[in-house]
Amino acid sequence: MPLRVAITAAAVRTALGSTPDEVWQAIQAGHSGIRPIVGFDASGFSVTEAAQIWREPDAPEDDPALRILGPHGRLLDAVCLEAHGAARLETLARERVGLFVGMGMVDSSVDDLAPAALASRDDAGQLSLERFFAGPYRQIHPLWPLSMLNNVAAGQIAIDLDIRGDNAVLAADADAGVRALLEGARSLQEGHADAVLAAGVAGRVTPALLARRALSGSEAEAPPGEGGAALVLEREDDARRRGAPILGLIRGGATAFGGEQAVTRAMQAAFEEAERPIEALRVQVDRDHLGDLGPGAAAVSVVTALAGWRRVPPSPADRPPRWTTVLAAGSAGGVGVLVIEEAV
């Protein structure tokens, strides 16, 4: 069965803007969100630049729901709420609205653990687990464990929107972001849901994130970025029937593993599904402007492509091609390819 899944709403947050048009225009103008890292002294790392959204330290959160989400969980929540609101899905049964997310890893805040660590030092100033277990562990906030689960943000989105359908959270590389969008599209295609929120978000730039990138060998890629996006997906026929605006169509996709050959395999499979020759390739590349958004990259690239299609070009020659390919490669060896088409 050909894949024809409509994108009927989108929302985005990146270092270059908080609307699809803002991000598109900034990229077209050649702007870059990549700057020296702020929030902590990154001079000990080999990568000292990033495309950050959060340029101030976190304020303490008293609201339990906000506390367990962390900044990138809250960002995910915000884009999902915005996209869901724009799509006007109120008439759908909430059990038929799904949620598929590609999620960057969560890292514990030093502030969460430092008091307990300090109180657990012995007379020689060394961390003593015996002391830690005897009581100082109680200085860790009781909600800290939940903040370490990167499915909790998806749960909070479900609560906020009262959606109860098919779902999954995938982590943590760029190809996981493609897979999340694809699983959402397949869920619709196979009738498990009538609408799906499909989203991706990068982890916050922290010392732990830089460490993870350095230790996995991925710091040679673009500097890290912060941000994410959410799409509302529906079967094309359903979207047309209810008069929803169709911003674009997901027509094919695949993920594969194992380096360069994986790129070829994923592309072949995605283009075969889209019933397009592979020559139609036009890869959406945003990371020179937005940084490496990891599992958020695919959704953000789709949003920028949609924004390009919506704008009236200065001349026909400036019009973006109708077909766009989103390509995402993770440091562990996974590759994801998504083929999208302008809605006509």
Partner: protein, 427 residues
């Protein structure tokens, strides 16, 4: 394309040992694998009961997989061991497999308080510069060294698996979601076989205070730590942390038959839902759980009366157990009383992202052998838990189909139906 999906291999690494035969026989006999924590030596965590992989087995796994870099975390080692066993049983050799994939549930990894302390000044200031300059000093098992996708990627690299390779991170429902996504991939024709299930380990200083901080940890009788987790019992008090891996090889029926593989069971349906209620508690009426169970049955066109065994999520917490029982009543209706319902968490602890993978393997054995494992530590059932909960020891009984339940903190629910394989039926 819609193809039947069958199971051709199983692998288990659990607190009761390695290998499906060993674990299954011990579970049926009513044995328990929970004990006092051993890995941290003299340092005694506030939870005095844990479903820990025996230290000797962990060392065996480390030796078995020392060929890579000797730096794997326990979660990855458990996954590699269980996947190797599952693939060996399936008769699938390492090679080049572009139409195969790996999808595993994986926990967040081991947050290490040692990593924070090492770079903390006495005034509490964190020295990010020193941290960046001395990454080699970070703990070997630290989560920054081991991303969620690492177990799946290591398995794929070792066996030449080149299709979709991913990690699902929905905590306690993660491995059922991984099995479900693998099932869908094969059914739609994207892949011919998949390695799926889950692996997790939180037996580390911060992991062992995880449930304590949440107020969800079971009270422990230090004379009998194995009795700490009591699913469905009136005196249940909470969870016991466990670790391990449960992994299966799922395969297209036509592919398995063409290579004359032994088919163990059929995967007959998958359903997932969201509670949209609270992060830390299910709705009391179990509606989210019921929706996932109903989804799984409808997906495979399985009649509720076929479900002879429910491998319950059964965590032993005050709120989860009665909510799940209500959900089973809702879904199975009059047949609920005819079905055996048990939880392995009393015997093994809660294996978190691996829990449903282990339970899936038990469901396969249940339909293969017409037997159901018991609910360990169940002595006086809660009056709200009014089903056949299989106390004491396992039981021989017909099991045409089994329902594998899993529900996560955060409200993600995922259920998988396993049934006896009968050649020639319709998908």
């Amino acid at each position: 394309m819609s193809r039947r999906v069958v199971v051709t291999g199983l692998g288990l690494v659990t607190p009761m040992g390695r290998g499906v035969d060993t674990v299954w026989e011990r579970l049926l006999a009513g044995e328990r694998g929970v004990s006092a924590p051993q890995r941290l030596g003299k340092d005694v965590p506030p939870t005095r009961a844990v479903g820990e992989i025996p230290p000797a087995l962990l060392e065996d796994l480390r030796a078995e997989h020392a060929d890579a870099d000797g730096q794997d975390d326990p979660r990855t080692l458990f996954a590699l061991g269980a996947a190797n066993d599952a693939l060996a049983q399936a008769g699938l050799e390492p090679g080049v497999h572009p139409r195969a994939g790996v999808i595993l549930g994986a926990g967040p990894g081991a947050n290490r308080i040692e990593d924070v302390d090492r770079f903390l000044a006495t005034d509490g200031a964190f020295d990010a510069v020193a941290y960046g300059r001395h990454l080699g000093d970070l703990e070997r098992e630290s989560l920054v060294r081991h991303a969620a996708e690492q177990p799946a990627a290591r398995i794929a690299a070792a066996h030449g698996i080149a299709g979709p390779v991913h990690a699902v991170t929905t905590a306690c429902s993660a491995s059922n979601q991984a099995l479900g996504l693998a099932y869908r991939s094969i059914r739609r024709g994207e892949t011919d076989w998949m390695v799926a299930g889950g692996s997790d380990s939180q037996v580390n200083p911060l992991g062992l205070v995880f449930f304590v901080l949440l107020g969800a940890s079971a009270n422990v009788d230090e004379e009998d730590p194995a009795s700490a987790c009591r699913p469905f019992d009136r005196r249940r008090s909470g969870l016991v942390m466990g670790e391990g891996a449960g992994i299966a090889v799922l395969e297209a029926e036509e592919h398995a038959r063409a290579r004359q593989a032994t088919i163990l069971a059929e995967v007959a349906g998958y359903g997932a839902s969201l509670d949209a209620f609270r992060t830390t508690a299910p709705p009391p009426d179990g509606r989210g759980a019921a929706e996932a169970m109903q989804g799984a049955l409808a997906d495979g066109d399985v009649d509720p009366s076929e479900i002879d065994f429910v491998n319950a999520h059964g965590t032993g917490t005050k709120r989860n157990d009665p909510a799940e029982i209500r959900a089973i009543h809702t879904v199975l209706g009059e047949h609920a009383g005819e079905s055996a319902v048990s939880s392995s968490k009393g015997a093994l602890g809660h294996l978190l992202s691996a829990a449903a993978g282990v339970a899936f393997c038990c469901c396969v054995r249940a339909v293969q052998e017409d037997a159901v494992p018991p609910t360990a530590n169940l002595h006086t059932p809660d009056r709200l838990c009014d089903l056949d909960l299989v106390p004491d020891a396992g039981r021989r009984r017909e099991v045409r189909a089994a329902l594998n339940n899993s529900f996560a903190f955060g409200g993600q629910n995922a259920c998988v139906v396993v049934r006896k394989y009968v050649p020639g039926g319709e998908a």
